[in-house]
Symmetry: C2
Subunit: 467 residues, 2 copies
């Protein structure tokens, strides 16, 4: 009990007790692994109530300084404190989609992650979110404790209707369902439409999580080669004749991972195929706001007849606020809303209200304009680096986050990603995106995560060695 | 263009424009349905930029004053503004679970809702949440833009481990998965464990959403009569012999809808049945914090061997922050975490950080103690009202939110709920909870939502008429 409780500088007695214990830990009077006094003993020794000690220990556990082991009381945490992430072991296993995803979720900022699918956190809108949080905290009519509307926060749906209208997608607020992110939106739609054994078409290559979601829903996944202007429609029609798809899941804006885009002529023919073979198209448009030159959307051409449109704010604003949406024709929305109520009840209205403020006061528009400029400049820089290595991206698209790059003959992207991981660089090798495993020589580069010199030095070394 | 833009009292020019339009709407110079000037025209007329007008209109759309109809510009909203909810038509259809749920979600505070499943909003912790929001907004290390840890916010999992430990459930933070609410937690577990056609046992009566979730996952639902001390184990064993259940989904704490509780002897025999027939038990414990006298949990007795424990903060703290959890044995958590990553990616770390603050500074503990006292007093009052009507609750439980009450001979609870709806009172008739439709004479009362005199006058009138 080698520490003094000093009330000075602490708002409450519990804070003072917590601070005293924390000092003892920092000074190593309580070394890592040491047991803390029991709640009763400390309360008696310091002349405070047990609930004060309980609160103090809660604070220390919350901060990670102290561990609570069931049955063995409280001990000083052994691991060095990391800001907010548990130590995730780096598994020594093959590079698969889950590996890329999990490594990308690690927050160590010293590891360059050209294979990551999102922006660096310092590019996102943290200051705006802090401002919006303070405004929500002050707003007397903010909804902070109730279950929200079954479809999601009404003001946000109204603003989404407005924004989608600007992209030519005409949809009433009551035909929009909010979800906990775009992944949850796609999952909701797939669960609603796909029966076990139904065929679902995806692009080859495509966002790897699509396949995981479809397998979970017991779909038969059929992949269609993706060209710079959309899926190969000859192959699509042939396979549709054979498999009679229920659904086609794609990005019609900036395509993940290739950076391609469904061109107007391809879009038109694709919608005719959808009518002919009676399937639905899910257009996942999470990268929409990175476009500098908006291209037509399937949902706009078809007026949400056979197309379901999905989006989110995770890529542009914040990934910590899980907010996505589904826009669909009204009778579909009715069913989707029942399904949502059964599987996840209502939405997080706190996150919705934060986003509403940023949309309504113009911050979001300004933020996204800044992002586009920053991405364009990062993109130009990555293109220069690739040129030095003699590499040319596959797609002719001139904006967006991703570049899809083929390695020279004799190189394997998965091998390169393993060597990269050993050198502390996370790459995304092509085959994690390719259902047919035919992208073994491709890498996906996120231009916003490819600024580090270490990436280019590593590639110059590695490609030079055998090139 | 009959309005002046006055910068006085507005922080920005866009706010001033929005305020000017709003004044014109309030004064009826712009009546409901009227078209607003186009963005270009207003910008020219008032000598401001188009982006200022865009921002002003965004604000008005967000507030609900103005509607944006795709293709027809901006019009003054026709409906009277309601705080934050779209007009939901009251459907003239039979009273089913979805009806009760949707009506309960309506926010009109003048409608008494004794059939609702949660607390009135003014009982929840709004002030604490505002305080926590301000603290998060100020906290320089708050995580506001990044994807979080795949299992969910680490500090919250540490605190949950501590709290569950206090209830005898020993679980490490890395064996807890956070989800977007308890419904999402149950759905995650069911999706993980249940194959199409698997038998799943539920209580009769049970929380109605369990059946919706199980049907979605194509389970065969088998219901077991629930007694005041748990499921009828004779029936359970007989049906288990026939159906070989994969899962049993229940509340072992305060039971929804009956207020019963699984007693220690029943719990022990139930766990033996689980071993004998090799099934898993999901213990949904969302009402745990309403207990004044904690009863043993299956998860504690069995040490999470065959039991999966689910909980949330939606019932006690706020339903607007969607935060639930699953505690399970470690190898299950690995699978659940993969499934979560595929279906909804990560969690809302903003909500988690708000809750961490309330847990760590003692507010949550104090809030819950206050709630228990308030519920106990409401419960005593409802028991007095029931006594006056000659009604006795079915269960002998002495705390919790729910009373399960049988109507006199000759009364039908669904009829009564229809009459109640016509009189502006939302009741929950027993058969919405009963898979076998054998609770046609029961009503579930939420003691915290049953304070209105109108409820008891209505019941006295209705029961008196034929009683």
């Amino acid at each position: 009990m080698d520490f003094d409780v000093d009330r000075e500088g602490s708002a409450t007695l519990a804070e003072a007790v917590a601070a005293a214990v924390e000092r003892a830990i920092v000074d190593r009077r309580l070394p890592p692994g040491a047991r803390l006094p029991s709640i009763r003993r400390l309360a008696e020794a310091k002349g405070v109530s047990k609930s004060t000690v309980v609160e103090a220990y809660d604070r220390l556990v919350a901060s990670g300084r102290v561990r609570s082991r069931p049955g063995s009381g409280f001990t000083v945490a052994v691991e060095p404190r990391r800001p907010s992430v548990d130590p995730t072991p780096v598994l020594d296993r093959d590079i698969d989609p889950s590996w890329v995803m999990r490594r990308s979720l690690e927050v160590d900022p010293t590891i360059p992650k050209p294979g990551c699918g999102w922006l660096p956190s310092e590019w996102l809108e943290e200051a705006g979110i802090r401002r919006a949080l303070r405004a929500v905290a002050r707003d007397p009519v903010a909804r902070l404790v109730d279950y929200g509307h079954p479809l999601g926060h009404p003001a946000l749906r109204r603003l989404l209707s407005l924004r989608l209208g600007e992209r030519g997608i005409e949809v009433e607020p009551q035909a929009i369902v909010l979800t906990a992110g775009a992944s949850a939106a796609v999952d909701l739609v797939v669960r609603h439409l796909v029966e076990p054994g139904d065929a679902v078409f995806v692009d080859d290559p495509c966002y790897y999580n699509f396949r995981a979601q479809l397998r979970l829903n017991r779909a038969r996944v059929v992949s269609i080669p993706f060209r710079p202007d959309g899926p190969d429609l000859e192959v699509f029609a042939r396979e549709a004749e054979i498999h009679r798809p229920r659904l086609y899941l794609t990005n019609s804006g900036p395509h993940n991972p290739t950076g391609g885009r469904i061109g107007p002529a391809t879009a038109h023919r694709l919608l005719n195929l959808a009518t002919r073979f009676d399937f639905t198209i899910v257009e996942d448009d999470v990268f929409a706001d990175f476009e500098t030159r908006p291209s037509p959307r399937l949902a706009a051409l078809d007026r949400l007849e056979r197309v379901i449109h999905v989006g989110s704010f995770s890529k542009t604003l914040s990934s910590a606020l899980r907010l996505g949406w589904v826009a669909a024709r009204p009778e579909r929305v009715e069913d989707l809303s029942e399904l949502k109520l059964a599987t996840s009840f209502t939405n997080d209205d706190l996150a919705a209200q934060v986003v509403v403020r940023l949309l309504a006061d113009g911050s979001y528009r300004r933020h996204v304009e800044g992002l586009r400029r920053r991405i364009a400049s990062a993109r130009a820089q990555v293109l220069r680096e690739l040129e030095k290595l003699g590499l040319t991206p596959w797609s002719t698209g001139d904006d967006g986050l991703f570049l899809w790059v083929e390695l020279p003959d004799g190189f394997d992207a998965a091998d390169l990603a393993k060597q990269g991981a050993a050198a502390g660089i996370i790459f995304a090798p092509g085959d994690v995106f390719s259902p047919s495993l035919s992208a073994g020589r491709f890498l996906r580069f996120n231009v916003a995560q490819s600024g580090s010199r270490r990436i280019w030095d590593f590639l110059a070394r590695t490609l030079g060695r055998r090139g």
